[in-house]
């Protein structure tokens, strides 16, 4: 079979145009018929068509994939692409447009799931989910689509502040309230901002670590990407909490939120230091990677592991399995967004900014859903 392929190909390279080519689409066949003299003439065209054909499934699949992702998150939302203008009849049905900056991170998948779960409790709410796939301009277009579709309210978790401030301001001008989730915009031209404070979470983790270790011990800090605000805040909050105690950070490394990196850095820390009391990782993936490294070295029982994020199937599961001693929740704010949305839609006053508290999960309280700390 392959032999035949190569035979055809070498024939095609000769000066005689080879018309009967198997396994090529009708388009390229007709392309080869229209040219008569030289195979070199139609070859570039054929090549371009083939490149397009090769790329088409990838493009089609990706758009299809986004679609199916969205509908999986929000079966109630119907077809997310056909955001037709709903009849804005207050008191009966509200349409909320939700623009998520990217669904590549489990935490953001969880945010959409939280919003959907909260919205499902209110039959008068219909949420249209859109995923900007980490593309600022696409997210901008989504906000504009929501405005022209005249939805009743927009929830946006923006990818970045500067380019999305203006589109949100235009939505406000068009009379559509906007709730901003997780990342801030510039200025105050929105209805309400809901987000957590990473510095507070880092501080709560630091305070818990001071208490647990009795104010003394060797700690390894595995940091999230230090060019990102969450990574910086989770570090500075922690540093603030341990300042003045006898807790020493003996090894710190930037593991960029990635589990394999955390495992490698932890292996370096283990081979350098014989005495480690606790590992503080800026996310649960990092703490899990550190645990695996310590386990491979047979030292996992000598130290504690603390993470942040507390997603149900990650950090909380690790606590339940006894891998992590503690994890601190970085709340998605999905449920609060729907609560606030309902208030706004019913004409009630809402605060301009809602800072979400964190919850601590340990083996003792994980079955009760954790406890609120550091607020």
């Amino acid at each position: 079979m392959f032999g035949n392929f190569s035979l055809n190909r070498s024939n095609g390279r000769s000066t005689v145009p080879q018309v009967s080519k198997p396994a090529v689409s009708p388009i390229s066949k007709s392309a080869s018929r229209t040219t008569t003299a030289d195979s070199q003439v139609w070859k570039p065209a054929l090549q371009q068509i083939l490149i397009l054909i090769a790329l088409a499934p990838a493009i089609l699949f990706l758009t299809g994939c986004n679609k199916s992702n969205n509908t999986a998150q929000a079966p109630a939302a119907g077809s997310p692409q056909s955001a037709a203008a709903p009849a804005p009849s207050p008191g009966q049905q509200f349409v909320i447009g939700m623009s998520q900056c990217n669904l590549g991170e489990p935490w953001r998948v969880q945010m959409n799931a939280d919003i959907k779960a909260a919205a499902d409790k209110h039959p008068e709410l219909k949420v249209i989910f859109k995923n900007a796939a980490n593309d600022t301009l696409q997210q901008r277009a989504q906000v504009e689509e929501f405005v022209s579709a005249k939805v009743n309210l927009i929830i946006i978790s923006p990818k970045e502040a500067q380019p999305l401030t203006e589109p949100v301001a235009e939505a406000i001008q068009a009379g559509i309230p906007v709730i901003v989730l997780d990342r801030k915009l510039l200025g105050t031209n929105y209805t309400c901002f809901i987000g957590a404070d990473n510095k507070k979470i880092g501080k709560a983790a630091g305070e818990w670590i001071v208490k647990t270790l009795g104010g003394k011990g060797n700690v390894v800090e595995l940091m999230g990407l230090q060019t990102s605000t969450p990574g910086q805040d989770r570090h500075s909050g922690f540093a603030e909490a341990i300042a003045g105690t006898d807790i020493k950070v003996i090894f710190s490394a930037d593991m960029q939120w990635l589990e394999p990196n955390a495992r490698q850095e932890m292996e370096s820390a283990l081979s350098r230091f014989d005495h480690i009391d606790l590992v503080y990782a800026h996310n649960d993936d990092g703490a899990h990677g550190a645990y695996l490294a310590a386990q491979a070295a047979g030292r996992d029982k000598q130290m504690k592991f603390v993470g942040i994020d507390a997603l149900p199937q990650e950090g909380v599961a690790y606590v339940r399995q006894g891998i992590l001693s503690a994890t601190f929740q970085y709340p998605t704010g999905g449920a609060q967004a729907i609560d606030t949305a309902l208030k706004v839609l019913h004409g009630e006053q809402v605060p301009k900014e809602i800072t979400l508290g964190t919850r601590l999960f340990t083996k003792d309280n994980v079955d009760q859903g954790g406890e609120a700390v550091g607020n």
Partner: protein, 344 residues
């Protein structure tokens, strides 16, 4: 056709130059020198003696193994004058697939491993056919496979990590054990002195070395990399040989995917981002030419060790991220420049 004779003369000139120069002047000698240089750096900046502990070297070999397997798979393609950008995504796809089969569906490792290899081979076959049969540039063909396989990985996993916490329909979670396949791969043998992942890497190197050095497939790849047109006219089934190189690379990416999933104890659809560049850097730093026709698995092994040790040394010294990236960039460029001198 016009460019080919030039390439041929260049190649023969380079060959005669190599024959005259001393052993140190050979590509292998130069790659070895780069590795020795990095090891000397490690001995100087030894992180309070951590570099002299046996465990550090065992960990280095384990950490470099996943990249090394990818680099071994990539070498035949690069020797044939192609490139494969899809290995990182194929790794993620097979990591997700193997985790789903092994953890969620509780299938036996004897079934999971071959099926995962099949997934990798299918991805390789697709990019191979598009490249070799449909004559799309390998950069474009494998770029689309990179996007496609990443999408497939996210689709199959639903965007979440496939871990031992399995969601029930009612929103609660049930927990299962890490499957025996993953336990076995992420295990150590010989009294805890050798990681199984490293053994898998060694087997991959040996197999690739045999195929490249002792089988006509390897010779054909060098010939295609040197002058594809001439190889075609001398009756070599070029399309078959090139397609097989991509299938081979896809299967190696699948092996790396299983190793990655085993070490993380989960299938992460975001795994392997940027691994293809790491693998290419390892191949190139060994001395295999991106133009094709020159290189070998032994050189790639030296490249893997060089970059693997460089990473480890920067890590045990807790060098900040910015310095790490700058140093890595400088050292890669220096190593490649050293390699290039052999052409003159």
């Amino acid at each position: 056709m016009t460019a080919s004779p030039n390439a041929e003369t260049q190649r023969s000139a380079a060959n005669s130059g190599n024959a005259l120069s001393r052993a140190v002047g050979s590509p292998g000698g130069r790659a070895f020198l780069a590795l020795v240089f990095v090891l000397i750096l490690g001995a100087i900046f030894n992180g309070d003696g951590a570099f002299f502990k046996f465990g550090t070297h065992r960990d280095t070999l384990r950490e470099a193994s996943v990249y090394g397997i990818l680099a071994c798979g990539m070498t035949p393609i690069i020797i044939s004058g192609g490139i494969d950008l899809s290995v990182g995504s194929v790794l993620a796809l097979t990591a997700v697939c193997s985790a789903m089969m092994a953890i969620h569906w509780n299938w036996s490792g004897w079934l999971v491993a071959p099926l995962s290899l099949l997934v990798g081979a299918a991805c390789g076959l697709a990019s191979g056919l598009v490249t070799a049969r449909l004559v799309v540039q390998p950069f474009i063909a494998t770029l689309s496979m990179m996007v496609l396989a990443r999408g497939l990985a996210k689709y199959a996993s639903g965007g979440m990590k496939v871990s031992t916490a399995i969601a029930n329909p009612d929103g609660t979670y049930r927990y299962v054990d890490v499957p025996p396949l993953f336990r076995m791969v992420d295990h150590r043998i010989l009294g805890g002195n050798l990681s199984v992942v490293t053994v898998i890497f060694a087997v991959c190197v040996a197999l690739a070395w045999l195929l490249m050095g002792k089988h006509c497939w390897g010779r054909y790849l060098y010939a295609i990399g040197g002058n594809e047109e001439a190889t075609r006219f001398s009756g070599v089934p070029v399309v078959l040989v090139k397609t097989l190189a991509y299938v081979f690379c896809g299967m190696y990416a699948a092996v790396a995917g299983i190793c990655e999933a085993a070490q993380e104890q989960q299938g992460d659809p975001e795994a392997g981002v940027g691994y293809e560049l790491m693998a290419i850097a390892m191949v190139v730093i060994g001395g295999t030419s991106l133009m094709g026709g020159r290189g070998g698995i032994g050189l790639t092994l030296l490249g893997v060790l060089t970059i693997g040790y460089l990473d480890k040394i920067l890590s045990i010294n807790a060098v900040p991220e910015a310095g790490r990236l700058m140093l890595t960039g400088v050292i890669i460029v220096v190593a490649v420049l050293t390699q290039r001198r052999k052409r003159t």
